[in-house]
Amino acid sequence: MKIIVSKEPNYTLFELNGNLDLIASEIFEKNVEAIISEEAVNLLIDFTNVDFVNSAGLRGLFIASNKLKLTNGKLVIFSLQPQVNEIFIITGFNQALNVLDTKAEAIESI
């Protein structure tokens, strides 16, 4: 898992590349801790290049979302591949997390 981090005035963008599994989820959570400590609030996550997500990856996202809520922030995920999107729907995580189609919609939502 490679994460490209870019900072914008109203949000931080993570571009995830690879598989969001248990190992990646730990890397992801560390990156989230880092931006929270820098007082960033909103996190947008680009899923375009995420080919695979498992239950550990879903949990990592949920934990990150809850941490951001504590600082009145928001976690928004966008551009999910069809199979990845299906996992969110099957497990109900599409209700627990903000999942949108495009980056434009994600920016609009914060």
Binding site: N19, D21, L22, I23, F52, N54, S55, A56, L58, R59, F62, P82, Q83, I87, I90, T91, G92, F93, Q95, A96
Partner: protein, 138 residues
């Protein structure tokens, strides 16, 4: 024997990630659709992860035997491990209709695995957990 996949997976999370890569290659070689292969890989991944994280009470190295066979319209998977007896069929499923926030943690991986295969059979014999999965080629 191109349509058989046999692997001995060590009880570590990186070993599961390596196995996933090999399984993807195998699936592509056998012309499984992206959707079908995704489901197969996810189900195997979740079941292996469950064994590695919860199946062993010691710190020793263990081997999990994985065998996959594609036979026409059928995919057969066997997973054999020497961990503590655990029947995924008896694992409580998360209540998918309640919000994630209020659910009891656990069971999500097994739930996903069940969702992506057509059947799961479990027996414990000769000191080993033996899982048999069946998935139709889709």
């Amino acid at each position: 024997m191109n349509n058989n996949f046999i692997s001995e997976v060590k009880n570590s999370i990186p070993a599961i990630a390596d196995c996933r890569v090999e399984l993807l290659k195998f699936g592509r070689k056998n012309k499984l659709s992206k959707e079908c292969l995704f489901g197969l890989v996810l189900a195997v991944d979740e079941l292996l992860m469950n064994i590695v994280l919860y199946g062993y009470k010691d710190d020793r190295e263990h081997s999990i035997f994985l065998e996959i066979k594609i036979d026409g319209e059928n995919i057969y998977v066997q997973i054999v491990d020497d961990g503590i007896p655990f029947n995924p069929q008896s694992a409580p499923s998360p209540d998918i209709n309640t919000p994630v926030e209020t659910r009891t943690p656990g069971g999500l991986g097994i739930f996903l695995a069940k969702n992506y295969v057509n059947s799961i059979d479990y027996v414990f014999s000769e000191g080993k957990n033996r899982l048999k999965l069946h998935k139709f080629v889709c």
